[in-house]
């Protein structure tokens, strides 16, 4: 694990939020490489190496996926469904990171086998702490077979 870059796929349509996540990760130095896509379609393209991600090494297999629910074109839930339907992809932990506290979203996400569901806190300190803990948990503490 040490020395091997940890790859995070961040699916976030709001560029400001994406920047917040990325800066937080950088702050805590937990992620080596973050790939950011803006919508669901792009996320799936990334995972399946399609379109702009069709070149070699353009889209490595991420260790975790941070997925927003409200996304242009293909929603986060649909992306989650696609991932968990795919035998190759289902093992990738998918962490929902959203502003939605709606019970329906939460339920739907777990129904579709999300690995975690996180609500973006409005408070910056909490946001920062969340990202830090997230990084620690998923990228440090959590063991993965690869």
């Amino acid at each position: 694990m040490i020395g091997e870059p940890l790859i995070v796929l961040l699916v976030e349509d709001n560029p400001a939020h994406a920047e917040m996540v990325i800066r937080s990760f950088q702050e805590h130095r937990v992620a080596n490489k973050i790939y950011h896509v803006l919508d669901g379609e792009a996320a799936l393209d990334f995972l399946y190496h399609r379109r702009q991600f069709s070149g070699p090494d353009v889209s490595p297999r991420p260790h975790i996926i941070l997925l927003d629910l409200r996304l242009p074109k293909i929603s986060g839930l649909q992306v989650l469904q696609e991932i968990k339907k795919d035998e190759n992809l289902l093992s990738i932990p998918v962490i929902i990171l959203t502003t939605s506290e709606a019970e329906r979203d939460l339920a739907m996400a777990y129904e579709n086998h999300t690995n975690s569901y996180l609500v973006k806190p409005i408070d910056f300190a909490k946001f920062s702490q969340l990202i830090n803990d997230l990084g620690l948990y998923w990228l440090a503490w959590n063991r993965q077979p690869w």
Partner: protein, 823 residues
């Protein structure tokens, strides 16, 4: 004179023959044989006398006389002995012979005078006893004999011997004897005549006795055979006679009357009479007044009724007794009673019948009426009898009645509907039937007039109720009909008629569905109705039809059987209620519910979106404020501007979001009054409003000049174009010749307005998504993703539809929508 004699003789002869004929055969034979005997004896005696005369004749010069005589005698003998010879001839034969003998003898003796007298007397006798013919014959013969003998005598051919004592001469004796004989014969003949008379007289007497006996036996027979009982009593009170009937009637034992005592039988008889004392008293009274005769009627204890006549028996002027005649008149009395009863029955029946009964003569005059006529018409029988029957009809209809009566009399009509009128002028509706018959042996009309007031009243009531029911059936808003077992319509109310497109019930009554509806519809209805008619089930159904105005109607109802008096299914009744409004209401309700649900969902999504999308800028602001603080602390001043810009952007985004949410909340309701606007004009206005945006991108806008006018909220409709134009400008991509075209094309039901661009286009899978609230296909594009949601909302609020057509990425998009046409 001659004639009288002749008549007399004929009369006598006829009388004689009649009497002879009336004699019994034995008497006739006896008399005939007597006559024959005498004539034969006389003949034989004459022959002897003739022979002796000739024997003793002195001389007979005329010898030819001998054969003449022999021939004469033979002839006479023949006549005498021939049984077929008539009585006259047979009697005349010996008479003539004897006569000749006497004449011969007289001439011989010279007594010519006597001979002549005799010759004259003989025909007279002959005439007297026989008839004219015998008289003439005898006279002729006498004259001939006289002439012959006279001639013989005068010529001397016949001579008397002189000196001969004629008294001793056997010839004289013989001729004298012959004369005696003749006299004897005449006496005999006279005696015969008398005997005959006597016989007749005796016979007559015998006949009288016989007749009397016959009469008596007849009387006795009648006496015994008569149906009346007869008792004759003499003046002493003893029974003279009685007949068997008398005994039978009173059941009197024969020994009781054998004693001829009337008292015993009177007591016996009186016992049997109801009013014995009165009966006996009356008998006594009659006996006490022998001159009185009387007729009485009395009843016996056993119920028989006797009539008694008492008559006096007179002999000359003397009353010798009394005859009682009893007649059993029970049967008569009963027959009379029966007749009377029958008459009473008839009268009772005739008068009890509630119909008015008239008997008319062949002139149409009333002969007889029953009491009902008097009762109903309020007049007496006397007022009607003899009147023409027309008087019972109202004056204004008498002409009609007269025609009918005439036809009835002619046997051409038997029914008369003309009402009758009472004495006080009230009319009674009737039905009159007439039968031709006989009354008192003369042709008559029997009129049976039935008061149909009640019937009329019932009919009127029935008609009123039927009309009422009909009105109810017609007034009901439902479709009501009835059919018989064969599926033929028997009732159709107004609504049913209207549905079938007919204007009167008569057009459908009697027709089956097959004659009214198309075959498949008729088949459907027939199949539905089969179990109703066959099994009495109720069929409930909901259905639809198109009325003659082309309007679709929904109905709900049922078909139920109806039964006749015997409980058998006679047909069915169908009642269908128009539930179109209900249906519409239900549809509207469902639409409202759907709408509400949609709104609810939208609201939910709205809330969700708002919570999500409004939170996003907040997070951004808070986050970058945090970074800003760190930057400042760490001295990363180069980051400060970047962070502040992001914060400002987020704040702007938030404001924009709030504005647009407010906008969205407004368009749910139309705030401006609807007006007719030209779409072309609106499009131009919208293009003017977003001109800056369009110009920045260099977009060319073409607006069709012929777009139709629509009715709606003008500012909102303008907003549609505004948003679509702005949207088109926004997603032109790197198109070198950006262009937007607004126009109209003909859709399936209404014109379709389109806004076509040649921008980046939308992939088919996202075409529906673009209208969603806060849905953006491009995360980094301007806007909040609310514009198309607003457009959709406005179009739908106006009753239209909106969709997008695009062949995909880079192929341009065409937003199409429909709006209700301005009427």
């Amino acid at each position: 004179m001659q004639k009288t004699n002749d008549d007399l003789s004929t009369h006598l002869k006829q009388e004689w023959n009649k009497r002879l004929a009336s004699l019994p055969p034995d008497i006739r034979i006896w008399r005939q044989q007597l006559a024959y005997g005498i004539s034969r004896a006389a003949f034989i005696f004459s022959v002897i006398a003739l022979i002796s005369g000739f024997y003793y004749a002195h001389s007979i010069e005329a010898v030819w006389l001998i054969p003449f005589y022999i021939i004469l005698v033979a002839l006479l003998g023949l006549v005498t002995f021939i049984p077929q010879a008539s009585y006259t001839l047979r009697a005349l034969g010996p008479l003539i012979l004897i006569y000749i003998m006497v004449c011969l003898d007289m001439f011989e003796a010279g007594r010519t005078g006597s001979a002549r007298v005799l010759l004259v007397a003989l025909p007279v006798l002959s005439l007297l006893f026989f008839d004219l013919r015998a008289g003439i014959l005898t006279l002729g013969f006498s004259l001939l004999t006289l002439a012959v003998f006279g001639w013989l005598y005068t010529t001397g051919q016949l001579s008397v011997v002189p000196g001969v004592d004629t008294s001793t001469n056997p010839t004289i004796w013989l001729s004298n004897s012959t004369l005696f004989t003749l006299i004897a014969v005449l006496l005999l003949v006279s005696a015969d005549y008398l005997i005959k008379r006597l016989i007749i007289a005796m016979r007559k007497l015998a006949l009288n006795v016989e007749a009397n006996e016959k009469l008596l036996s007849l009387q006795q027979t009648v006496f015994d055979a008569t149906v009346d009982g007869i008792l004759a009593v003499d003046h002493t009170g003893s029974i003279t006679t009685f007949n068997r009937r008398f005994l039978e009637m009173w059941a009197i034992p024969e020994e009781m009357v054998a004693g001829r005592s009337n008292a015993a039988s009177l007591a016996f008889v009186a016992e049997q009479v109801e009013n014995s004392e009165g009966f006996v008293a009356r008998v006594r009274e009659l006996y006490a007044h022998p001159q009185e005769e009387g007729d009485d009627i009395f009843t016996l204890k056993d119920g028989r009724i006797f009539e008694r006549y008492s008559r006096l028996q007179r002999l000359g002027d003397e009353i010798v007794g009394r005859v009682w005649v009893f007649r059993d008149i029970t049967a008569e009395k009963r027959a009379a009673e029966t007749l009377r009863q029958s008459q009473r029955n008839f009268d009772l029946f005739f008068n009890t019948i509630d119909d008015l009964l008239f008997v008319l003569d062949d002139q149409g005059n009333i002969i007889h009426v029953n009491q009902t006529v008097c009762r109903k018409l309020g007049c007496t029988e006397a007022e009607l009898i003899g009147q023409p029957v027309l008087v019972v009809h109202p004056p204004e209809r008498q002409a009609e009645a007269a025609r009918i009566v005439a036809a009835m009399l002619a046997g051409e009509a038997e029914f008369c509907p003309v009402p009758v009128i009472t004495k006080d002028g009230r009319q009674i509706p009737v039905e009159t039937r007439v039968i031709v018959g006989e009354w008192d042996g003369r042709p008559a009309l029997f009129g049976v007039t039935r008061d149909i007031s009640q019937l009329k009243l019932s009919e009127e009531t029935l008609a009123r109720e039927r009309n009422l029911l009909r009105a109810v059936v017609d007034t009901l808003p439902d479709i009501i009909f009835a059919k018989d077992r064969n599926g033929r319509k028997i009732l159709s109310n107004r609504n049913d008629q209207w549905v079938m497109g007919v204007s009167s019930e008569a057009e459908v009554v009697g027709k089956t569905d097959w004659e009214v509806y198309p075959a498949e519809l008729a088949a459907k209805y027939t199949a539905e109705e089969q179990p109703v008619l066959a099994e009495g089930r109720t069929f409930e159904s909901e259905g639809s039809f198109v009325d003659p105005l082309g309007q679709l109607h929904w109905v709900f109802g049922s078909k139920r059987p109806f039964r006749n008096h015997a409980g058998e299914i006679a047909g069915l009744v169908g009642i269908y209620h128009d539930i179109t409004q209900l249906k519409q209401a239900a549809a509207e309700r469902e639409a409202l519910i759907a709408d509400l649900e949609a709104k609810n969902a939208e609201l939910e999504r709205f809330t969700y979106t708002v919570s999500h999308d409004l939170k996003s800028p907040l997070i951004t602001i808070k986050g970058f404020l945090g970074f800003l603080e760190q930057d400042v602390v760490r001295g990363h001043l180069d980051q400060v501007n970047h962070d502040i810009a992001l914060i400002a952007d987020a704040a702007d985004k938030m404001q924009q979001l709030l504005d647009e949410l407010l906008e969205l909340s407004r368009i749910g309701r139309l705030v401006n009054p609807p007006q007719t606007v030209s779409l072309t004009e609106l499009a131009h206005e919208a293009a003017g409003l977003v001109a800056g945006q369009l110009m920045t991108r260099g977009v060319q806008v073409d607006i069709a000049p012929d777009m139709p006018p629509v009715t709606g909220d003008r500012p909102r409709l303008r907003e549609v174009f505004e948003n679509l134009l702005s949207n088109a400008a926004k997603f032109m991509g790197d198109q070198p010749h950006p262009r937007v075209e607004i126009g109209v094309q003909h859709g399936e039901t209404s014109p379709v307005i389109y806004v076509r661009d040649n921008g980046i286009g939308i992939e088919p899978q996202y075409q529906e998504k673009v209208f969603g609230l806060f849905e953006k296909l491009d995360a980094v594009s301007e806007g909040t993703g609310i514009g198309l949601a607003i457009v959709k909302r406005i179009v739908e609020t106006h009753g239209g539809q909106i969709w997008v057509e695009s062949e995909g990425q880079g192929r341009g998009s065409t937003f199409c929508f429909t709006l209700p046409q301005s009427s």
